[in-house]
């Protein structure tokens, strides 16, 4: 699988879509999180402040980093999800899927290499987001790094990492429907269903909602209701999606 990994890394490095997505997450998420914090800390009574304040969990660094985690939970799913759809769906849209037949590298291994590279790239994005968020927090007056920061960093990375894993099943949608646009339609569907399930109060057991709730998106009470089993559901869903995609790639025809 080494050659497939090498080729997928090269394609990811050279393409525009992953660069734009990376910029949106690594820069956009900390900027948005810091802006929300500034709105929440201000004394104003704006509608925005009224909406943001209930999302705060704790104070200081804990509050700031959980806010980053909440924004990251949505941002990662959208950004990494789009790149997952592009990476798999383009092979059909561009007509290159057929050229991956009748070669020594199995298509199953190429699909697994794509998933592995995207997983590593997505996790790297989460780390980059935190690396940018911490100095931004210092600059915007959260305070000197200290109490609550380590726990906040860990929580943010876990939330981001789980959402990266959860973006992998979109590869199956993009592959089975032979294009990235159906995958992106599936991504939008997931966002809508997550919203509905969360509003209905069943978000803790819905893998796409649990990380965001744990990060405080539904307030401190909803965050406390999310436990390890709820979060761990992301792993069989996400990794199962990647394995199912590899299986499908191994059996599909080049129609």
């Amino acid at each position: 699988m080494g050659a497939a990994l090498e080729v997928e890394v090269l394609k990811l490095r050279r393409a525009t879509a992953p660069r734009v997505a990376a910029l949106a997450v690594a820069v956009g998420v900390p900027a948005l999180g810091a802006a929300f914090m500034a709105v929440a800390r201000a004394d104003g009574e704006s509608q925005m402040a009224a909406k943001v304040r209930p999302m705060l969990v704790g104070t200081g660094w804990e509050a700031y980093l959980t806010m980053i985690g909440q924004v990251l939970s949505v941002g990662v799913l959208l950004a990494v999800g789009v790149v997952v759809c592009w990476s798999f769906g383009r092979e059909f849209t561009d007509g290159t899927f057929g050229s991956l037949f009748a070669i020594p590298t199995a298509r199953r291994d190429i699909a697994l290499a794509k998933a592995t590279v995207l997983l590593g790239w997505g996790l790297g994005l989460c780390v980059a987001t935190v690396v940018i968020a911490v100095p931004l927090g210092v600059l915007t007056g959260v305070g000197a790094p200290g109490e609550g920061m380590v726990a906040g960093v860990v929580r943010t990375l876990v939330v981001g990492g789980l959402m990266v894993v959860l973006s992998l099943p979109l590869a199956l949608v993009a592959s089975m429907h032979r294009g990235y646009l159906p995958g992106i339609a599936g991504l939008l569907g997931i966002v809508v269903v997550t919203q509905i399930v969360t509003v209905a109060g069943a978000g803790t057991w819905f893998p796409y909602a649990a990380p965001g709730l744990w990060a405080g998106m539904g307030g401190p009470e909803a965050a406390a209701a999310v436990g390890v089993p709820h979060l761990l559901l992301a792993l069989p869903v996400g990794l199962g999606g990647a394995v199912a995609t590899a299986w499908w790639w191994g059996r599909a025809e080049a129609i």
Partner: protein
């Protein structure tokens, strides 16, 4: 495990495939021998591309099978191991081409996926880029290439690992006359080294110049062969097609272009 003519590299055994109720390939037998350029000709929709896809495992047959004979034993293409596929190169419809990669990166990526170690892939890439006169575009991104140069890059990817068997679907249809000559020379040289080549083309005269055998397909079936050195191949071809259609050639029905 199967047995075949000692020099056969690829065989189709009663291969058949339909798309819904539309038969695309109907019980085709075919053989490609080492050192042979075997041309497939037929009208548009005759089943040439579908046959090539079946031979490469891109499609599953409804019945019959395709076997590769690149080692001591033959293997069904559905079970062929990686080592067997390393001996195969192909360009069927869309080439292995990624818009964001340069020509050199594309060909090198193709070489790596076709089993060449990194250092060999670099050398093989430089060699094939020179062979197909792609040096001028070597550092260009593929998205900037003309259709003809994309086709040449696709061909470079198909041959970079020096396969023993080549399956090429209309490899020259977008090329200028100089490009056609270069590809023709490349195929003749490959066959001279013992490579078996299965190639489809629009151009009967081009096939007549390089092919050792010409097989005619019509409506998914093989309807005959043409002598490569024969006279007036186009007339012979249409006589064969009209006979298959049951049409009197003295009162010809409108027939689509040769492909």
């Amino acid at each position: 495990m199967t047995t075949a003519h000692p020099s056969s590299l690829l065989r189709a055994h009663r291969l058949a495939r339909a798309f819904g109720t539309e038969p695309a390939v109907t019980g085709v037998d075919l053989r490609v021998a080492a050192g042979e350029i075997h041309a497939l000709v037929g009208l548009n929709g005759a089943g040439k591309t579908t046959l090539m896809r079946l031979l490469l495992g891109m499609l599953q047959p409804d019945s019959g099978r395709a076997t590769l004979h690149l080692g001591p034993d033959g293997t069904d293409v559905r079970d062929a191991p990686a080592a067997t596929w390393r001996g195969v190169g192909h360009l069927v419809e869309s080439p292995f081409l990624y818009a964001e990669l340069t020509v050199t990166e594309t060909v090198r990526a193709a070489a790596r996926l076709r089993g060449l170690p990194a250092h060999e892939a670099r050398q093989a890439t430089d060699r094939v880029i020179a062979d197909l006169a792609l040096e001028h575009w070597a550092r260009r991104r593929c998205r900037t290439l003309s259709l003809g140069n994309r086709q040449r890059v696709g061909l470079a990817c198909a041959v970079v690992h020096r396969p023993s068997l080549l399956v090429l679907d209309e490899p020259t249809n977008a090329l200028d006359p100089a490009g056609v000559l270069r590809v023709r020379r490349h195929l003749v040289e490959a066959a001279g080294r013992g490579v078996g080549v299965l190639v489809s083309s629009h151009h009967l005269d081009e096939m007549a110049r390089i092919a050792h055998r010409i097989t005619v397909m019509h409506r998914g079936a093989v309807i005959g062969t043409l002598p490569p050195q024969g006279a007036d191949l186009e007339r012979q071809f249409f006589d064969m097609v009209y006979a298959a259609e049951g049409v009197d050639p003295r009162e010809p029905e409108p027939v689509a272009e040769v492909s």
